[in-house]
């Protein structure tokens, strides 16, 4: 029998998931304020040994290359060496990877999220529509599916089976089994966690972007997911390209007939590296 999920059930159940990392909402809230962001970022990083270790390891490899081996052992020095933007990216990715592991997210699911995050960042740069939220939107675009798999694994598996056996779209199948689709669940979670409206919209509209195209991040996240599958970045048998919004491509000014080799190459190289580092 089909479920009929309500918004209140989505939020109530989410409370029994691992806590959403506060550093993510803090970073997103202070993106425009470098001073505030640096202080709060360093503070958060210093209280998290996993993030600190990852940042110091990357900073030290840069130091070995540039300064004859003098080692970096504090976060502020690491910021000056590898830059605030990179530290922010590492912190977001490590925090969300930790959250995903805490939710028992399957590795293929996390790798797909990383791939979409990287596609979103690179597409933003390529089309001159860079967004500070691109990485987070990509990493969280399928968070609704994570919730479904976590609380209703049987129904989630039935949806997966129906997708591989038929030609119906994922959202239609999910609505049949759950009463709502993963985009709706993701939007509820993102609003509950206080994520920026652009990220909420990107999560909600990533499969059917046209009504949300007033926000560039919606177009970026939609095309990023299509591209991640088209480039077979995770190598999964389930990678499938079925629909892509022409309006979203137009909004970003993408002309697929131009030489996309450098864009695709960057995406492949970065994804391979990131999936190894943030596994």
């Amino acid at each position: 029998m089909a479920l009929l999920l309500t918004d209140s059930e989505i939020i109530e159940r989410a409370k029994s998931m691992p806590a959403f990392p506060r550093v993510v909402t803090d970073i997103l809230a202070t993106l425009d304020d470098d001073g505030a962001n640096l202080g709060s970022l360093v503070n958060h990083v210093e209280h998290d040994p996993v993030i600190t270790a990852r940042i110091l390891s990357i900073a030290n490899s840069a130091a070995m290359a540039g300064h004859g081996g003098s080692s970096v052992n504090d976060v502020r020095k690491a910021v000056s060496l590898i830059g605030l933007a990179k530290i922010r990216e590492i912190t977001l990715a490590v925090s969300l990877a930790d959250f995903a592991h805490g939710c028992r997210m399957a590795s293929y699911f996390w790798e797909h999220s990383v791939a979409v995050g990287i596609c979103a960042m690179e597409l933003g740069r390529f089309t001159h529509h860079s967004s500070d939220y691109a990485l987070v939107a990509g990493l969280l675009h399928d968070i609704g599916q994570l919730w479904m798999a976590h609380f209703y694994p049987l129904e989630f598996q039935m949806v997966r089976t129906a997708i591989s056996n038929g030609s119906e779209g994922i959202n239609q199948i999910e609505r049949r089994y759950f009463g709502v689709d993963h985009c709706h669940v993701g939007r509820q979670l993102a609003m509950h966690w206080g994520l920026p409206q652009a990220v909420v919209d990107a999560i909600y509209y990533h499969h059917e972007p046209d009504p949300g195209l007033a926000e560039n991040l919606v177009a970026i996240t939609h095309v990023a997911e299509v591209l991640a599958n088209a480039l077979d970045l995770t190598g999964r048998d389930g990678n499938l390209v079925a629909n892509m919004s022409s309006a979203a491509c137009e909004k970003l000014g993408i002309d697929w007939s131009q030489d996309c080799g450098s864009l695709f190459g960057r995406i492949e190289a970065r994804t391979e590296y990131a999936c190894r580092v943030f596994r």
């Binding site: 590898i82 990678n239 390209v241 022409s246 697929w256 450098s262």
Partner: protein, 92 residues
Amino acid sequence: MVLGAALILTEKGVINFNLPAGHELTESNLQQMRVRHAEFVCVQEVDQRSDAERAEAWAQAEARLQRIFRAADLRQPTMAGLYEAVRAFRRT
């Protein structure tokens, strides 16, 4: 190692390191790239496969691409454009 494509590194939108395609990388270049946080480069590699091996690899890549796009409407220009772009990339 010889660069297969130009390497352009930027910081805050300003180019701070630039090497042309065909440039042979030196140890000093690699060190400068690390300092500027280069994440990857495109390098030339000699393709030592036979014609038959290359043809077989291409057939596999094309079959995989067709499987991924099996539900796509390739009469739609945007979708056809993406398909051809990925196909061209796999061909290189």
